[in-house]
C-alpha cells in the first residue's frame, strides 16, 4: 500500500469508515482494529477537550456525559482544517440541535453554544493594530456639517449577537454562582455584544435596543446620516464601552 492510500485509509478508519485491518496494520495479541481504536480515542478525546475549553457553559449545563456524546458526534462530523486548534469548534450549536433529547431537556442550549462561539470569535479576532483613518480624539475637529458623513469603525473583536433566550443573563448568573439562576426567565430574548478589553480578555454585555441597533449600523459601515436618528442617543454609551476603533470620512471630505 503506498503512502497516499495508507494515509487516506487511516483517515477513514479514524472516522469509523474503515477498519484497522484495511490499513495494513499488524494484528498480533491485539487485532489491527483494537490498535486503531487507540488512535480513534486519542483523536476524539483531544478535539473534545478543545470543545470543552470553548464551551464551558454548555458543558456545565449539559453535564459531562451528554457533552461528551455531542462532542464525539461533532468531532467525527466537523473536521479540523488547520494544524492548530485555536479556530476549532464552529457550528457546535448545529451539532447540539441534532440531539433531540438534549434540545428537549434544554431548548436554549444551542443558543448558549452560539454565545460561547461568539466569545471565542471575539478572542480570535482581537487586534489593536488597526489602520482607521481618524482616532476618536479627532472627532472634535470635524465641523458639525460633516457629522452626517462620519462612518465609525468597530474594533475587529466586536461581535454582535441576538438570541431568543436570555443568554447574557444566564452567563452572568453562572459566572457569579448567582442564586438568581433558578429564578432566571430564560425565555426572554436578549441582544448584546462580546468584545475584548485592551489586554485581549473577552467581556460581554446585554444591550438595549438603541445601543444594539447603533452598533449594527456601524458594523454595516453606515454613516451617521444613514442611521435612524433615534439610535444616535446611544453614541456616548458606545464610545464609553470602548468598542470603536475610530472613524473615517468620504475621500473628498477628508481632503478638504
Amino acid at each position: 500500500m503506498n503512502l497516499a492510500d495508507l494515509q487516506h485509509q487511516f483517515s477513514r478508519a479514524l472516522h469509523y469508515q474503515a477498519s484497522g485491518e484495511e490499513c495494513s496494520i499488524v494484528s498480533d495479541v491485539f487485532s489491527a482494529d483494537e490498535r486503531m481504536q487507540i488512535y480513534r480515542n486519542n483523536f476524539i478525546i483531544s478535539l473534545s477537550e478543545v470543545l470543552q475549553a470553548t464551551y464551558p457553559m454548555v458543558q456545565a449545563l449539559l453535564g459531562e456525559e451528554s457533552f461528551t456524546q455531542v462532542a464525539r458526534h461533532h468531532v467525527l462530523n466537523q473536521p479540523l482544517t488547520r494544524g492548530d486548534v485555536t479556530h476549532y469548534g464552529e457550528h457546535f450549536d448545529q451539532s447540539l440541535r441534532q440531539f433531540d433529547a438534549v434540545m428537549q431537556a434544554a431548548p436554549y442550549i444551542a443558543e448558549v453554544a452560539r454565545f460561547e462561539w461568539a466569545i471565542d470569535v471575539s478572542q480570535q479576532l482581537f487586534s489593536r493594530n488597526n489602520s482607521v483613518q481618524y482616532s476618536l480624539a479627532d472627532l472634535a475637529q470635524i465641523p458639525t456639517e460633516q457629522h452626517a458623513n462620519i462612518c465609525f469603525h468597530l474594533h475587529p473583536d466586536v461581535v454582535l449577537l441576538t438570541s431568543p433566550f436570555a443568554i447574557y443573563a444566564l452567563q452572568q448568573a453562572i459566572n457569579h454562582h448567582d442564586e438568581q439562576l433558578s429564578s432566571l426567565d430564560i425565555q426572554q430574548a436578549q441582544q448584546g455584544v462580546c468584545a475584548c478589553n485592551e489586554s485581549g480578555e473577552v467581556w460581554s454585555l446585554a444591550l438595549d435596543k438603541h445601543s444594539y441597533q447603533l452598533l449594527d449600523g456601524f458594523r454595516q459601515q453606515l454613516t451617521l446620516g444613514a442611521i435612524e436618528p433615534q439610535y444616535l442617543s446611544a453614541l456616548n454609551k458606545i464610545i464609553e464601552l470602548n468598542l470603536l476603533a475610530g472613524f473615517s470620512l468620504p475621500a473628498q471630505l477628508a481632503s478638504e
Binding site: 500500500m1 503506498n2 503512502l3 497516499a4 495508507l6 494515509q7 487516506h8 487511516f10 483517515s11 479514524l14 484497522g20 490499513c23 495494513s24 496494520i25 499488524v26 495479541v29 491485539f30 489491527a32 483494537e34 490498535r35 486503531m36 487507540i38 488512535y39 486519542n42 483523536f43 483531544s46 478535539l47 478543545v50 473536521p79 479540523l80 482544517t81 488547520r82 494544524g83 492548530d84 486548534v85 485555536t86 478572542q123 480570535q124 482581537f126 487586534s127 489593536r128 493594530n129 489586554s199 485581549g200 480578555e201
Partner: protein, 286 residues
C-alpha cells in the same frame, strides 16, 4: 536569578495554567518549551505573555502540527505562522515529530504513525528540508510513541530516524519515555533503539510519564504525559547522559497538569542526575 539547584540545561513545558506563574515568579530555570501552535496569533493574550516570559527565559518551540510525514506538502500558512513566531521569539530550538497528522486538508490533532518504508522516508525528508529551507535553520525531529506497526514497514524506527538525520542534517530530539513505551508495545528494547541513534545528532531530550491501559488481552502503554517520569525512564536518562553527556532536557506534562512545584521538583530530579554525572566526570578528569 536561576536557582542553584536546577541545572541550566533542564527546562519544563510551559502550559497555559502556568503562564501567570512564570510571568510573576523569579526564574528558577533557564528555559521553557512551548507548543508553537498555541502562540501563532500575534495579538493573542498568550503571545503577549510569551513576549514577557521571553525576557526572562530561553524558549524552545515544539510543534505538533507541521505533519511532516504527510504525503501532501507542508501547509504554507502553517509554515508562515511558525516562521513569524520563530523570527519574533528567536527560540534556541525548533522541533516537531516523526509522524503525520493531516490528510486531504483534514487535521487530526494527534501524532499518527508512519509506515517505515523508502517512500515514507523520501516524503518525510522532502518535508523536513522544505521547513528547514523556510526557517533557515535546522529543526529537531522527535521520535514518537506508537501503538501499532504496519505490515509493509521495512525499516526500524531508529534506522528511519537516523537516515532522516543524515539526509536532511536535521537534529534529533530523543524522548526517552516514547522509547520506553514503544519498546514495550512492540517488543524491542530501549537499548536496541538507542544503539541505532547517532548520539552526536541529539540536541534535546524529553522526559514524561505514561499510563498503563489494561485491555482484556493484555496491556498497552499510552504516552499520556499525565504522570511523573517513571523509574525506568530516569534510569535510561541517567545511563545515556553518563555515556554521551548532557543535553537540553525537558520535563513534559500535558494532561492533569499539576502545580508548577511538581514540575519544578521533577526538573530538580533531572538536574541532580546531570549535576552528579558532571561531578563524576570532573573527578575522573582530575
Amino acid at each position: 536569578m536561576i536557582s542553584t539547584t536546577q541545572h541550566p540545561l533542564i527546562g519544563i513545558g510551559l502550559r497555559e495554567p502556568h503562564l501567570d506563574f512564570f510571568l510573576t515568579e523569579p526564574a528558577q530555570l533557564s528555559w521553557l518549551e512551548i507548543h508553537s501552535e498555541n502562540y501563532f496569533k500575534p495579538d493573542s493574550i498568550a503571545r503577549q505573555q510569551l513576549r514577557k516570559i521571553r525576557q526572562q527565559y530561553q524558549i524552545s518551540c515544539h510543534g505538533i502540527g507541521l505533519s511532516l510525514g504527510s504525503v501532501e506538502r507542508i501547509n504554507r500558512q502553517h509554515l508562515q505562522q511558525l516562521g513569524s513566531l520563530v523570527n519574533e521569539i528567536e527560540p534556541m530550538l525548533v522541533s516537531d515529530h516523526l509522524s503525520w497528522s493531516e490528510n486531504g486538508g483534514h487535521y487530526f490533532n494527534d501524532l499518527l504513525p508512519l509506515p517505515y518504508t523508502e517512500e515514507a522516508l523520501d516524503v518525510f525528508c522532502r518535508n523536513v528540508l522544505e521547513v528547514q529551507d523556510a526557517l533557515k535553520r535546522p529543526m529537531l525531529i522527535e521520535n514518537p510513541s506508537s501503538y501499532l506497526k504496519f505490515t509493509h514497514s521495512t525499516i526500524t524506527e531508529w534506522d528511519f530516524l537516523a537516515e532522516v538525520q543524515q539526509r536532511t542534517q536535521c537534529r534529533l530530539l530523543l524522548d526517552f519515555n516514547n522509547i520506553h513505551v514503544s519498546a514495550f508495545n512492540h517488543g524491542f528494547t530501549a537499548h536496541q533503539y538507542l544503539q541505532g541513534i547517532p548520539a552526536d545528532a541529539v540536541d534535546e531530550i524529553h522526559l514524561a510519564g505514561f499510563t498503563v491501559k489494561q485491555l482484556d488481552k493484555g496491556e498497552i502503554w499510552i504516552d499520556t504525559h499525565s504522570r511523573p517520569v517513571s523509574d525506568e525512564v530516569w534510569q535510561l536518562f541517567q545511563s545515556w547522559v553518563a555515556q554521551h553527556g548532557a543535553r537540553h532536557t525537558l520535563i513534559e506534562w500535558d494532561l492533569d497538569i499539576p502545580e508548577p512545584d511538581v514540575l519544578l521538583s521533577e526538573a530538580a530530579k533531572a538536574s541532580a542526575i546531570v549535576h552528579s554525572i558532571e561531578r563524576n566526570v570532573a573527578r575522573e578528569a582530575s
